[in-house]
Amino acid sequence: MDGSHSTFVSPSPANSALARTLRQPAPLPKVGRLGRRAAFASPLILLIVWSALSYSGLFPKEIVVPPDGIWRAFISQWSSGELPKNLLGSLQRLAVGYGVGAGLGIVLGVLMGASKQAEAYLMPAFQTLRQLPTIALIPAFIMIFGVGETVKIVLVAKATALPVTLGAFQGVRGVPSRWFEVARLFRIPAPVVATKVILPAILPSLFQGLRIALSHAWVVLVGAELLIADNGIGQMMEWGRQTFRLDIVLVGVVLTGLIGFLLDKGFRLLERGLKGRGA
């Protein structure tokens, strides 16, 4: 400790390389920048890789169906009316189940958020329900509701209600209590408070819950349709599986992914649009 010169290892070439790499200006978060480009490139790259695989002859054409095979199956299913019927059936179920579930979820979430009493009574039951994955409830629900439309809608509703409730609950909880005080101070009437103050404040969290719920709902619906067959995309895939028609199954796979993607992206656009309108 007498101020003598320090002993240090002279910087090695590796260190200057590191310094050079790290010296770059802080990049945009990698996911964001690449993610945006990947959004366009990914289906293309997938297509390229898939075509390479299928045309390479490594696998028989029935197993790894090349893109034109998938396309032909798509066209034939569409023109025969099968695909539109299935698509419509799935989307209808999704809409109804989602609507019911979202409605329930919003009511429950707002109730628990607004009233500590309600939360005390309902939250434990809610948390318990969360522990029961929807997929695991399929046999139970089949026993209760049979194998018709109802059971699928109930399953979708259950899958939807949970994230929506959470989103609504967190949204209401996130509103600073001070706002309510201010509103009361200025004697702003309750409906105005509800629409102009509370609603915009809840919306971001609520919308996130709605978006998550939508993707859950879609997954559950496809799964349910795989098991309970009358019509729908899932059922189409199941039929393809049973008749060893991989091309049909792949049409279903592509469509499932595509619809899931569109639903999610569409929702995000909606969120952004509403945000833009000055929430």
Partner: protein
């Protein structure tokens, strides 16, 4: 012991240093022809309004930034990248949150060629030096702002650097802690007499601790004046001469704003 005059063979010499950033494809001149000689064992304070480039200057000396024109030399050697001969303390302690105080200080020695027992001894010494004995196993989240900053100082000193660079080290602390740590800094510096360059926005702190106060002006950043503080250490905060110097520096700083 007072310093009469900076040595002719200075420890750190900065010669016509200029730096530009590119912003929106237009060059932004952050520093223009900054020249400064720092003698060995000297304590130099740098003050200036925001935008005067004082932090950039420090980062250039530390080697974190290196795209500059002009010369920066330490003991005659050109500086272009980080090195263990210069210690740096940021405004935020920037301790690694997943390491204890001991591990954080020891991290500085990760590329120092010393046997493990010696490293451990040095780490312990420096933790004791900054007054954190007993807190070796604490995580940063358990430390107050002042304590965390002390740990950061220990980390900067454990490599026994030739020059200690401080970038507004006490800026994020409350007034009382700041005064305490200023005294600590002075105590540590008096014990080791290493060369110190400290950037601060607190004029009183600059005058209290520094042998010289460098006043910088923005647009583009350059040195406007250097004020000598020829008072022996340790100093009396209440001394009228110090107050007069402080007022003089303040007046200089606010000149552009108020006139």
């Amino acid at each position: 012991m007072a310093f009469e005059h900076p040595d002719t063979a200075s420890k750190l010499s900065i010669d016509r240093l200029s730096k530009n950033y590119i912003l929106d494809r237009k060059p932004l001149r952050v520093l223009l022809n900054v020249s400064l000689d720092v003698a060995e064992g000297e304590f130099v304070s740098i003050v200036g309004r925001s935008g005067c480039g004082k932090s950039t200057l420090l980062r250039l000396i530390s080697g974190l930034e290196n795209d500059y024109s002009g010369d920066i030399r330490l003991d005659g050697q050109v500086i272009s990248r980080p090195g263990l001969d210069r210690g740096l303390v940021f405004q935020d302690p920037s301790l690694l949150p997943w390491m204890t105080v001991r591990q954080n200080v020891a991290f500085a020695l990760v590329n120092v060629d010393l046997p493990a027992p010696e490293k451990a001894e040095r780490v312990a010494e420096h933790i004791d030096l900054v007054g954190l004995k007993g807190f070796e196993s604490a995580y940063p989240k358990e430390l107050s702002g002042g304590m965390a900053q002390r740990a950061a100082i220990a980390r900067a000193l454990v490599t026994q650097p030739e020059v200690l660079l401080l970038d507004e080290p006490l800026g994020a602390l409350d007034a009382l802690t700041r005064v305490r740590l200023q005294n600590e800094l002075q105590r540590i510096w008096l014990r080791h007499k290493m060369t110190v360059i400290m950037v601060t926005h607190d004029v009183e702190e600059a005058v209290y601790l520094g042998d010289r106060v460098v006043i910088m002006d923005p647009g583009p950043g350059r040195i406007s004046r250097i004020v000598d503080v020829p008072h022996p250490h340790p100093r009396d905060r209440a001394s009228p001469e110090l107050h007069a110097l402080r007022d003089a520096v303040l007046a200089d700083l606010t000149n552009g704003v108020l006139s």
